[in-house]
């Protein structure tokens, strides 16, 4: 919690955790100390459903470069998806 950078988003969808698929309600995006990847700070995304309990979590810990690449891919796919839905 030293960098103190956290953004949250309400989401709808599904994620696959340790116990299988579950409904997602929230994504927490932070720049903080990661648990696993061996860098000082990571861009962390935690997909969770607080009502379903602590174990219902899908998390990724990314380098900044990876997070940037992911965001570009996400926005590009989103743009095409929205165009598809409009057609």
């Amino acid at each position: 919690m030293c960098a103190n950078i956290v953004e949250k988003a309400g989401i709808a969808g599904s994620g696959k955790g340790l116990a299988g698929w579950f409904n997602l309600t929230e994504a927490s995006v932070s720049y903080d100390h990661p648990f696993h990847v061996d860098i000082e700070h990571a861009l962390n995304i935690d997909f969770v459903n607080p009502a379903a309990g602590l174990g219902e979590r899908v998390s990724v810990e990314l380098t900044l470069e990876s997070a940037r690449a992911l965001s570009v891919a996400l926005l590009a796919a989103l743009k095409r998806a929205e165009a598809y839905e409009r057609s």
Binding site: M1, C2, D32, D38, E40, L54, G55
Partner: protein, 254 residues
């Protein structure tokens, strides 16, 4: 101090429940040497990854060195599960409220001081967010005899970073600090940066506080963490632990 090889030594380490802020009952990991004492006490405030294995391990290390050591679970009120699962939930909440942590630290201190074999001296220590919390506890709750800040990030905060959980920059409480402080920092750290450490040191100097700051070249954040290869710095960690134990020996006895 550790005994010689011909002496019996023992330790008890276990989870207990203690009153924290507002009398809330919270879990704490309590490791202490066996024997009549008197034993000085140390409150260990865990880092962001939570009330985890490392936090409990260092509590036992302090017990080995003659301290009744206690690590309160600062996330106890929120949930229970694997430490990192709890920590992720805490991260999503933006942390835990500073005043609550101060109250929990004071509760742990008072528990230690109330033991029949306590010497009466109690210090507080933490790494990372725990270092920040240790500074807060020693500043906002009178009654600690020593504080160790191990690279606490956010002791010096920008106004725009203040929020409901962290309403005051800890450095602004410096005038209220009532015990000696030891600080260990890596010069490659970015939370705190060397510049932020300078600001903290200047405040301690301005208010005439008893402080010792040591800054290590070739080290960044978390240089004690042997389970984090990119962060761990053996030489600096060995020297750092010596400084911590020497400081507690001088301020608390052992």
């Amino acid at each position: 101090m550790p005994t010689t090889t011909d002496k019996y030594e023992g330790m008890v380490a276990e989870t207990i429940t203690i009153p924290g802020q507002d009398g809330d009952m919270i879990h704490a990991y309590y490791a202490r040497p066996t024997g009549p004492g008197p034993f000085p006490g140390v409150v260990w405030l865990h880092h962001f990854p939570g009330w985890d294995e490392w936090s409990k391990e260092v509590t036992r290390k302090l017990a080995y060195h003659g301290y009744a050591a206690i690590a309160p679970d600062l996330y106890c009120r929120v949930d229970h599960g694997a430490p990192e699962d709890v920590a992720v939930k805490i991260r999503g909440m933006g942390g835990v409220p500073d005043p609550q942590v101060v109250g929990d630290a004071a509760g742990a201190r008072d528990f230690l001081r109330s033991q029949a074999n306590a010497s009466g001296k109690v210090g507080v220590i933490g790494t990372c967010s725990g270092g920040r919390h240790a500074v807060l506890a020693a500043s906002c709750s009178q009654g600690f005899d020593a504080v160790v800040d191990l690279w606490g990030g956010g002791v010096v905060m920008k106004p725009e970073d203040l929020n409901e959980m962290r309403p005051v920059s800890p450095v602004d409480y410096t005038k209220d600090l009532s015990c000696p402080i030891l600080g260990l920092f890596g010069n490659d750290d970015r939370a705190p940066t060397p510049e932020q450490v300078n600001v903290h040191e200047a405040a301690l100097k301005e208010h005439g506080k008893n402080y010792e700051f040591h800054r290590y070249d070739g080290a960044g954040h978390g240089f004690f963490y042997y389970d984090r290869p990119q962060a761990y710095r053996a030489e600096q960690a060995v020297d750092g632990w010596k400084k911590v134990l020497d400081f507690f020996g001088r301020t608390l006895g052992s």
